[in-house]
């Protein structure tokens, strides 16, 4: 039934948005694709799992996951990108070093989890199903959509309504001019990577709960989806990433529901191809975003 699929699609889109926003935020400010973003997402899920397993409450696990993923993301920036930026080779060098960081994180996770699929204990998240207007919506789905909405709102408020956010946008816009106005870009980078990682970690926990399945490579498909979404939205564009998450999440849910399973990816990627044919810089991208070196 269509209405049911739309509800499912919104939930999926919310998770994609959390993942993709940080991905695009980092690209916007540094013109870098952080390919360890998927591993950071996975780390969020793992941290929440181990907190719950150790007897902690789920909300505690959620908060710890957000903090841990945020810090991990800051660490990745310092280790993988900061030195490269000084040499000016971060664009391609950064891709390689962040793949490396992702592999290291995943290998550690593989060791820690013993390559097992981890599952939250039964009823970690209460199984409650609401039925109304012929729809079946679980409390978990409501929580996922609500959490995504709240986090996206907080991010938007932070970026567009606070003096910190103004500084982030200033560095994104013109780093030299921002430095001349007294902004230390390194501090801005750390804060941005923290936000990006925290959102990815939150998405990781939500996905871990939704499928009740956590493993060391769970982030990789999301890295691919995230990549598609930020290109579709326009590299570096926050509203673009939101819109593209919705388009992609809905498209994926609906094609899975209504098309033979072999066709899903074909249809989605054909549609993306068409969109990019008409809007090569993405739904809301600037022309210069495609030209990675353009802004230096």
């Amino acid at each position: 039934m269509l209405a049911q699929q739309l509800v499912n699609g919104i939930v999926v889109s919310g998770v994609y948005a959390l993942f993709a926003l940080g991905f695009t935020l980092v690209f916007g400010i540094q013109r870098i694709l952080n390919l360890a973003h998927g591993a950071i997402f996975m780390t969020g899920a793992m941290v929440a799992y181990y907190v719950v397993k150790a007897g902690g409450a789920l909300w505690l696990g959620f908060i710890m996951a957000i903090i841990a993923s945020g810090l991990l993301s800051v660490f990745v920036e310092i280790v993988c990108f900061r030195r490269l930026r000084k040499t000016g080779d971060e664009e391609f060098g950064g891709i390689i070093s962040s793949i490396g960081a992702g592999l290291v994180i995943m290998t550690i996770a593989q060791r820690v989890s013993d390559t097992l699929i981890l599952r939250f204990p039964f009823e970690t998240f209460p199984v409650v199903i609401f039925k109304f207007w012929g729809l079946r919506v679980s409390m978990l789905q409501l929580f996922m959509a609500g959490a995504a909405l709240v986090l996206v709102f907080i991010l938007g408020y932070y970026i567009y309504r606070t003096s910190f956010g103004r500084r982030v946008r200033a560095v994104t816009d013109n780093e030299h001019a921002a430095m001349l106005m007294g902004i230390n870009p390194n501090l801005i980078y750390s804060q941005t990577y923290f936000l990006a990682g925290a959102l990815a970690g939150a998405a990781g926990v939500l996905v871990g709960l939704a499928f009740n399945s956590i493993n060391f490579i769970m982030g990789e498909p999301y890295l691919m989806f995230g990549f598609v979404i930020i290109i579709l939205g326009g590299l570096g564009s926050i509203p673009g990433a939101l819109l593209a998450s919705l388009v992609f999440g809905m498209g994926q849910t609906l094609t899975i529901a209504y098309l033979p399973s072999g066709l899903t990816d074909t249809v989605i990627f054909a549609a993306l191809f068409l969109i990019l044919l008409f809007r090569p810089h993405g739904l809301m991208g600037k022309e210069e975003a495609g030209n990675i070196r353009g802004r230096r």
Binding site: S163, R169, H176, A177, M181, G182
Partner: protein, 234 residues
């Protein structure tokens, strides 16, 4: 107030500054003129900390700031308005001005929003507009206003007339003379020597990374060599 001593800068291969010395006293407007590629921007960027010098000293009010980070330099009250109107294009006029306040780092502001709007009324009209959509002249006014919001004790201006129509240049320079009247110390970089020598008290001529002449602006205007080379009259 600002004292620069035998400053040398080279980029990979190119020597941009070959031992430049220069002084700016409180309350003065000092012009730095010279052809394209002379090293004028390199000098301002070295003062601002964007470029690290190979040798030499920059001293501001008895404190050495040689090689300090750009954000640390703004703490002392040295504010640069860069060449080429580098507004934050995707932010509103108001937001651009607010970002300027970062340079205060807790110092008392010397110009508030109202003061900036009094000097450049057009910015008040356009305050909610994206900076990228302003005309060139308005963007130049905005970057100067943004610098003022940072509480400058010394304002470094890099080619404020570049690419602007004469009417707009006149507006910008009348605003600068107003700021000068109010006691602001300015180091003005210009290729347009006539403008710079009219707007300043003293001036230095920079050629190929070296100061080749200096003196009172009124005298330099009469100097035959300067006139021949920079004032476009024989």
């Amino acid at each position: 107030m600002l004292s620069i001593d035998t400053l040398k800068v080279h980029y990979s291969g190119i020597q941009a500054l070959r031992g430049v010395s220069l002084e700016v006293t409180k309350g003065e407007t000092v012009a730095l003129i010279g052809p394209n590629g002379a090293g004028k921007s390199s000098l301002l960027n070295t003062i601002s900390g964007l470029v690290k010098p190979n040798s030499g000293n920059v001293v501001f009010e008895d404190t050495a700031i040689t090689g300090a980070a750009p954000w640390a330099v703004t703490k002392t009250g040295i504010l640069q308005v860069p060449e080429g109107r580098r507004v934050f294009a995707e932010m509103t006029v108001l937001e651009n001005l607010q970002v300027g306040q970062t340079a205060l780092h807790g110092r008392e502001p010397t110009y508030g929003l109202d003061d900036v709007f009094r000097v450049f009324p057009i910015l008040q009209e356009r305050r909610e507009q994206m900076a990228g959509s302003l005309s060139g002249g308005q963007q130049q006014m905005l970057v100067i206003g943004r610098g003022l919001m940072g509480g400058p004790r010394l304002l470094l201006l890099d080619e404020p007339s570049l690419g602007l129509a004469p009417v707009i240049i006149a507006q910008v320079f009348s605003a600068l003379s107003e700021l000068k009247q109010q006691g602001l110390t300015i180091l003005l970089v210009e290729q347009n020597a006539h403008l710079a020598l009219t707007a300043s008290d003293r001036a230095y001529v920079l050629e190929q990374g070296q100061i080749v002449k200096s003196g009172a602006s009124a005298d330099l205007r009469e100097d035959p060599e300067v006139a021949a080379l920079y004032l476009g009259q024989g």
